[in-house]
Symmetry: C2
Subunit: 367 residues, 2 copies
């Protein structure tokens, strides 16, 4: 069912969406999940200071948000030791990906990503009429050399990599990232998605000059800061690209309560350490649960563990369905060979307990 007034591009776009929310699955099942471990959220919750700031901001929800997000952008810039001209705010990394693709990819332009990487990037490239070129993962890692080679070969305008990676959880050290940045050809911008870097081992985050014209980094308050519900992400990069965001974005898109919550969360460094400790402990539990059940946990620098189920995508999908039927929400990668895995987020002990309890039966039922 289409409409003749849609643009030629809009009329061709598929109806598929990047993710089905757990709420939709709960509505279909007619009951809530016992464990919500599928969206790489921070089930430990946000900082109490962030909650207090959001509650206080609720009273002034009648005011439009500051379209410049002045206070939050300055705080982020100070955190990174740079000028606010290098910081662009958006409605989560998802919102920023849409704007950046729109700015760089005209119909027919090529964007490079890894086969099975973050689907929302691919969604926006398709949505703006771009052509997606993909390279395979190498040993469950995104492959910087292959990504750069494909970017050169296709004359691509955008090259996307996440470090640490989603959906596999694997990562490269800072030196490897620096080598990749050095290899970016002039015609391309490297999009370095660092959504999970706050949770990664020291030495993962590359120390990149925000003014470096070759790379735009993406960060979020959705993961380590536990504020996925607010939709606040930011880009760090060259001022001309950051300034261009202001020419296309919805200036009031990051809402008032979101700005207040993110500002308070950024200031609470102690809570971030607390979350890292909780996350590491939960990750350890997930690794053990995987091994106890004959699955191979893939080493992860994030808040989730990809567990190799030793079959193909069909088997992992059956396990996923059986877990769902037992009240456990997890997800899985969307492309082979990554899709031999299920992807389980860290979370509070009762939810991990529910996963541990459901997994043996789910594996048996999926056989």
């Amino acid at each position: 069912m289409t409409d003749p007034r849609l643009t030629a591009l809009a009329a061709t776009l598929p109806a598929s969406v990047p993710f089905t929310g757990p709420e939709a699955l709960e509505r279909r099942a007619g009951r809530p999940f016992a464990a919500r471990l599928g969206a790489n959220e921070c089930g430990f919750g946000p900082s109490s200071r962030a909650i207090a700031a959001m509650r206080e901001a609720a009273d002034t929800a009648w005011k439009y948000p500051d379209p410049e997000a002045h206070d939050l952008r300055r705080a982020i810039a100070a955190h990174h030791g740079c000028d606010p001209a290098h910081i662009g705010l958006g409605e989560g990394i998802d919102g920023l990906l849409g704007l950046i693709v729109r700015l760089i990819i005209a119909p027919g332009d090529v964007a490079v990503t890894s086969r099975g990487a973050y689907p929302t990037f691919a969604y926006h490239v398709t949505g703006h009429g771009g052509t997606l070129a993909t390279v395979p993962y190498t040993a469950d890692h995104e492959d910087p050399d292959r990504l750069i080679a494909e970017t050169r070969r296709k004359g691509a305008r955008l090259c996307y990599i996440s470090n640490p990676d989603n959906p596999m959880g694997t990562w490269h050290d800072a030196a490897t990232v620096h080598d990749m940045v050095a290899a970016v050809p002039d015609h391309a911008l490297l999009l370095l998605d660092e959504a999970y870097v706050d949770l990664a081992p020291d030495g993962t985050a590359a120390d990149i000059d925000p003014a470096d014209p070759r790379v735009l980094r993406l960060r979020t308050f959705s993961k380590a800061h536990g504020l996925a519900g607010l939709r606040v992400g930011y880009a760090i990069g060259p001022a001309p690209i950051i300034a261009a965001l202001d020419r296309v974005k919805n200036h009031f898109g990051v809402n008032r309560i979101a700005q207040a919550g993110a500002l308070a969360a950024l200031a609470d460094r102690e809570y971030l350490h607390h979350i890292r400790a909780l996350n590491d402990a939960s990750m350890g539990r997930l690794v053990n649960i995987a091994r106890d059940n004959g699955l191979r946990p893939i080493p992860s620098a994030t808040n989730f563990v990809a567990m190799d189920c030793g079959g193909g995508g069909a088997r992992a999908a059956r396990i996923l369905a059986e877990l769902g039927a037992r009240g456990v929400f997890v997800r899985m990668p969307g492309a082979a060979p990554l899709d031999r895995c299920i992807r389980v987020s860290t979370g509070p002990d009762p939810e991990v307990d529910a996963f541990a309890a459901a997994l043996p039966d789910a594996l048996a039922a999926a056989r």
Copy 2:
């Protein structure tokens, strides 16, 4: 300062933004405004039930929002007596305007609006490479006949009108709107922005079939519901257009606290009556203040009054600056002949008092 990797379109876009926030003006002045009466916000604040819902939702801000906004969309659909397939949610009307323009306007396509009407529509048309065609207001009203005639003449794909109108506050009755809908040519979609219709006299809102393919209506929680800070707007219209929104939007764009607040606000019909009474009383005060100072208040069906200052744009701009210097934030239309007016929002008595106190001096100083 541009970047060679930007698309040809992105490289040509102007750096101007639709609105400068009052916060930016306060930062420049080095002090807060005593009266925030420039952005047509609801200074009376949102319903206490909405505030309670937002505060409660803050505790679960670690969860992504439901990307389908199932509960809110169903509640809105029930409110309008239609199927949810006719309701599309977005980050305020601003966010929806961006998506709709993207779906309908390819580079070179024409969109029609009134000269001096809502600048964010024009911003998005320019941003997507469209050509803007404008017609003048007639006696401070948007002119349906001229808009439709220009839409036909130019073969335009979009025709935008707001009813009641912003920035003038004038309105057409439902019968006039129905006549306009009947005249929309096949090649065009009528965008009927009803941001202020909850505050308008009975008989203003046209009873339009949500399935009518000729028109898409836009509503918001920013005005009568007092939730401008949340960024929740919605479109009511033909299912194929609503479905197309899902192919380009940021699915998690309307945040979790925003969905909760809007849902509670929609249910609190009593508060809406209360706001209408407060708004009418404040409007009466603004009308009297204008007259007492020799300005002509233009009859309004909104939460603001355009006051004809009897000169041109330069004089109104001086009055605006003098009011700003006296701690009073108001705005003015951006195009002649509307820009002979200043536009003052309703609000709590102390803020209206501050406006009343500042106006005589501001008028004198602007002479």
